[in-house]
């Protein structure tokens, strides 16, 4: 395959970004898809038609004001019924922050998020270790690689029973772990997980805010120069090309 063919194939990959009432980061997620070389497609929570997208991002925010439980009401949106079906069929789905909470409420991923153990909202540049670099959203990283992306949440403490945690560990389904500080009391420092097939990934930190130099976290390259999050979006494009 020539380089030109690869570019055309990547550009034709259509990544849906769902907007729920109270979603905040849909435009950043769409921008990240574009910067990675894909075509972002805006999807609306009330529409059960996913418009034949190749993958879906559930962005961060406070859908329905986090009323009841974070992600609990969004989980029953018509668009989510379609996402659950498509995800079970193998379509790549990424849930970021509130999107991760929607994925656990939808039972596409195990466990749940509760309030941060210290009860404060946290907003920081967070170091993560990529534990599983074989998922649809992490294949452009290497296992053990450390990345820095923003973290901002109130209900970010990942919890699950011991049996589920052991299962996640045993099957290599811990996708990301917090390095240094555990910012919210998450069990076993877990920042993100994947389903068994590797097409559904959820994490609390925000890769879409670290995709363009000048607008990302501070890095060795300079002030706000960090683009460690871009790999999520180039990974899914690569997985679609090779699918």
């Amino acid at each position: 395959m020539s380089a030109g063919t690869v570019e055309r194939t990547l550009a034709s990959a259509r990544i849906g970004v769902i907007t729920f009432p109270g979603t905040l980061d849909d435009r950043d997620a769409a921008r990240a898809v574009r910067l990675a070389g894909g075509e972002p497609v805006s999807l609306f929570h009330a529409d059960g038609d996913l418009q034949n997208v190749d993958a879906v991002v559930l962005p961060g925010g406070f859908s329905y004001g986090d009323y009841l439980r974070a992600g609990a009401i969004s989980r029953f949106a018509p668009a989510m019924d379609a996402v659950v079906d498509a995800a079970r069929g193998g379509m790549p789905v990424l849930g970021i922050c509130n999107g991760f909470q929607v994925l656990t409420e939808s039972h596409l991923l195990p466990g749940s998020m509760v309030k941060n153990d210290h009860l404060h909202f946290v907003c920081r540049e967070q170091v993560l270790a990529v534990e599983n670099a074989e998922t649809a959203w992490t294949n452009r990283y290497t296992a053990g690689q450390q990345i820095t992306i923003p973290l901002k949440n109130q209900d970010g403490q990942f919890v699950a029973d011991e049996r589920t945690l052991d299962e996640l560990e045993g099957e290599g389904r811990v996708a990301f772990r917090y390095v240094g500080t555990n910012p919210n009391g998450s069990r076993r420092d877990i920042a993100g997980i994947t389903n068994a097939a590797g097409n559904v990934v959820g994490l609390m930190p925000h890769p879409e805010h670290a995709v363009e130099a000048g607008f990302g976290p501070d890095s060795a390259e300079g002030h706000r120069a960090g683009t460690d999050g871009l790999g999520f979006f180039t990974s899914v494009l690569a997985s679609l090309v090779h699918a």
Binding site: I73, G111, V114, N116, A160
Partner: protein, 90 residues
């Protein structure tokens, strides 16, 4: 008008950060008797007619799907509360 009350509590094995904050604040007001607090949720579901067995069953199903997340919470009560005043426990 009928009313069904649904009460949901965090599972015992899940640390309840809100309850922990409340138990920490109580002694500052002189309430030193309380060694632990767990904070849950109470829902009041209103129906136009009477609370029939079918209405109660629907409330149980709503409690197990939308009103609680079984991973972190237990439904501890689903009951006909038509005789109670709104917001007042029996």
């Amino acid at each position: 008008m009928g009313r069904v009350v649904v009460e949901v509590m965090p599972k015992p094995e899940i640390l309840d950060p809100q309850g922990k904050a409340v138990v920490g604040a109580l002694p500052r007001l002189g309430f030193t008797q309380f060694s632990g607090v767990r904070q849950g949720k109470r829902f009041e579901l209103e129906v136009d007619g009477e609370v029939t067995p079918e209405v109660l069953e629907a409330a149980r199903q709503a409690a197990g799907t939308l009103l609680s997340n079984p991973v972190i919470e237990d439904v501890v009560r689903v009951a006909d509360a038509s005789e109670e005043s709104a917001g007042v426990s029996a």
